[in-house]
C-alpha cells in the first residue's frame, strides 16, 4: 500500500518536474536559441546538468522550508502526494488556459492549506515568505528600471553581439595533436560573447534548479520516504525530460517573447532574475523565476521608456508639473550625466513609449500572482478539511 502510494507520488513528481522543465528551459534558453547561439538539444542537455547542481546545493534550503518549516509537523507520504497533486493541478490549469501560474507559489499555497486544515501552519514562516513575495517584484522592477534608464543605453553603444556564418570553432589538424581554433568567420569578440551567453544561461539554469527542483522533490522527502538525493535526481531527470521535449515549443512561445527584446537586454534580464532567484533560494524562500524575469523585463522597458523625463516626473506621471511626491527618488537631481541629457530630449516620443507601460497593466500582472497561490491554498485547505485522514 505504502509502496503503491510512493509510486503514485513519484509519478506526480515526474509530471510536475516535466512541466517545470518545459517552462523554465523555455525562458532560460529561449534567447540563446533564438539568436542561434546554441541548439535546442544542447540547451536541454546543459539545462539538465545545471538544474541538478542548483537543486543539490542552494535548492536544499528551499526544500527544508517546504518540507519542514511552513508546517510544524513533517509532511506524511499521503499529504505529500496530495500536495503534489495540487501543484500538478496548478500546472494543468496553466497549460490548458495558457496562464502562467507560478509553481513555487502554488506549492507554498498547497502546503499552507494543509497547515491551516491541520492547525499546524507556522504563521511566522508564511509571513516571512509572503513579505519576500511582495518585495521581490518591486526589487526586480527597480533593478530593471535602473538598467533600462542608465546602464543599457551606455553599454548598448559599446557592445555589439554578432553571429557570423560557419562554425564557431574549428579543429586545427596540422599538428600531431588537433588544436581548437576560431572558425572561418569567427572573431575573438564573437567567441567572447558566445561564452558570456552560455555562462549566463548556465547561471539561470542553476537558479531554475535551486527554485524549481524543490517543488517536485520536497513533498516526497523526509517522512514521506525518499532521500533528498533520490528526490532531486528524480526531479532533475523529469525536468530534463521536459527540457528535451515540450521545451522545444516553450522556447518558441515564452522564450520567443524574450527574443523580441535584444539579446543584450535579455542577458541583463537573465542575470538580474537569476541573482534574485538564487539569493532568495539561498535563504530558503521559494520564489518564482518567471516572476523575477517578467518584473525585470517590465522594469527595463519602463526605465528606458521614461528615460527622457526625470524620475520624479515619471513617477508622478505628470511631466511639466513639478509637484513634490514624498518618497520619489532623488535621482532626478543626479541625472545630469554628460552622455544622457535626461529630461531634455523628445518628450513627444516618450509619452508614446510610456503608453506601453501603464500602471494598470502592471497591476494586472501582480493580480495574477496573487490569484494563483490563493487558489491553491483554498483548494488544499478544503481538501484536507474534507479528508482529514490524508494529512
Amino acid at each position: 500500500m505504502v509502496e503503491t502510494l510512493l509510486l503514485v507520488g513519484i509519478v506526480a513528481s515526474i509530471f510536475v518536474g516535466f512541466n517545470i522543465g518545459g517552462s523554465s528551459t523555455g525562458i532560460t534558453w529561449g534567447p540563446a536559441v533564438g539568436a542561434e547561439i546554441v541548439t535546442k538539444t544542447t540547451a536541454a542537455a546543459v539545462m539538465t546538468g545545471f538544474v541538478f547542481l542548483g537543486g543539490m546545493t542552494v535548492g536544499r534550503n528551499v526544500m527544508d522550508t517546504l518540507s519542514g518549516e511552513i508546517i510544524t509537523t513533517e509532511l506524511t507520504l499521503s499529504a505529500g502526494v496530495a500536495v503534489l497533486f495540487f501543484i500538478g493541478l496548478g500546472i494543468l490549469v496553466a497549460n490548458v488556459f495558457g496562464v502562467p501560474v507560478p509553481t513555487s507559489m502554488t506549492t507554498v499555497g498547497a502546503i499552507a492549506g494543509l497547515g491551516l486544515a491541520t492547525d499546524s501552519l507556522n504563521y511566522e514562516t508564511i509571513a516571512w515568505i509572503v513579505s519576500w513575495w511582495v518585495v521581490t517584484p518591486i526589487i526586480g522592477f527597480w533593478i530593471g528600471g535602473v538598467i533600462g534608464r542608465y546602464l543599457y543605453p551606455e553599454i548598448n553603444r559599446r557592445v555589439r553581439i554578432e553571429k557570423s556564418e560557419g562554425p564557431l570553432l574549428a579543429l586545427d589538424r596540422r599538428g600531431a595533436v588537433p588544436r581548437p581554433e576560431l572558425g572561418p568567420n569567427t572573431t575573438r569578440a564573437e567567441l567572447a560573447t558566445t561564452a558570456v551567453v552560455l555562462v549566463i544561461g548556465c547561471y539561470m539554469a542553476f537558479s531554475a534548479g535551486a527554485s524549481n527542483v524543490p517543488n517536485a522533490a520536497a513533498p516526497l522527502v523526509g517522512e514521506a520516504g525518499l532521500e533528498v538525493t533520490t528526490a532531486v535526481v528524480i526531479a532533475t531527470l523529469a525536468i530534463g525530460l521536459g527540457g528535451f521535449t515540450i521545451a522545444r515549443r516553450t522556447m518558441e512561445s515564452v522564450g520567443g517573447e524574450l527574443s523580441d527584446i535584444p539579446l543584450l537586454a535579455a542577458l541583463f534580464v537573465m542575470v538580474t532574475a537569476s541573482t534574485i532567484t538564487t539569493a532568495l533560494s539561498a535563504i530558503g524562500i521559494p520564489i518564482s523565476l518567471v516572476m523575477a524575469t517578467v518584473m525585470t523585463i517590465v522594469g527595463i522597458g519602463w526605465g528606458r521608456a521614461t528615460r527622457p523625463v526625470t524620475v520624479r516626473e515619471a513617477v508622478t506621471r505628470n511631466a511639466g508639473d513639478h509637484e513634490i511626491v514624498p518618497g520619489a527618488i532623488t535621482a532626478a537631481e543626479t541625472a545630469d550625466e554628460p552622455a544622457a541629457p535626461i529630461g531634455e530630449e523628445e518628450p513627444a516620443e516618450v509619452l508614446r513609449a510610456g503608453d506601453l507601460f501603464n500602471p494598470r497593466a502592471v497591476m494586472k500582472y501582480v493580480s495574477m500572482w496573487v490569484i494563483g497561490p490563493s487558489m491553491s491554498t483554498l483548494l488544499a485547505y478544503g481538501f484536507f478539511v474534507a479528508f482529514p485522514g490524508v494529512a
Partner: protein, 142 residues
C-alpha cells in the same frame, strides 16, 4: 454620409472582413487602417523590444508592415486606396483616443489572440471596449 472611417486591424480574419465590409459599404469614404503594436503580453516582450529600439517610430512601422500589406491586398481587390496609421500600446485605448477624428469605426469582432486567456486578461476584447466607449458609431463585423 460617412466620409472618414477608421478600421482597426490586427492579423486576424475578422479584421480583414471588417476592412472589406467598410470598403464595400462606404464606396466614397476615406478609409484609414490602424494597427497597434507593442500590445501587452505575458512577458511584455514586444513592448520592451520596441522601447529599446533607437528609433521607436521606425521600429513600430516595421512591425506593423505585414498587417498593412494584408490591408492593401484587401483594398486592391476593390481598387481602393487606404491610409495607414500605427498606434502603440493598448489597442482599445488607441482606437478610442483617435475615434473622434473619424465619422465611424468598423472593427472585427475579435482579434488573432482571443484564444489566449492571458491576452484576454491583459488586453480584453477590443471590439467590445471600443463599442462601449468610442465617441462615434461603431460597426462590429463577424
Amino acid at each position: 454620409m460617412l466620409s472618414r472611417i477608421l478600421v482597426p486591424m490586427d492579423n486576424s480574419d475578422p479584421a480583414g472582413r471588417a476592412l472589406a465590409y467598410a470598403l464595400d459599404n462606404h464606396p466614397d469614404a476615406e478609409v484609414t487602417v490602424l494597427h497597434v503594436v507593442g500590445v501587452p503580453s505575458m512577458m511584455m516582450g514586444e513592448a520592451v523590444g520596441l522601447t529599446l529600439e533607437d528609433d521607436l517610430d521606425a521600429a513600430a512601422a516595421e512591425r506593423a508592415a505585414p498587417v498593412f500589406e494584408r490591408a492593401r491586398e484587401v483594398a486592391d481587390e476593390q481598387g481602393r486606396e487606404i491610409e495607414t496609421v500605427v498606434g502603440i500600446g493598448h489597442p482599445a485605448r488607441n482606437v478610442i483616443d483617435r475615434a473622434d477624428e473619424y465619422d465611424a469605426v468598423v472593427i472585427g469582432a475579435h482579434g488573432a489572440d482571443r484564444e489566449r486567456v492571458t491576452h484576454r486578461f491583459l488586453v480584453g476584447n477590443v471590439a467590445e471596449t471600443v463599442s462601449k466607449r468610442a465617441p462615434v458609431p461603431v460597426t462590429i463585423v463577424r
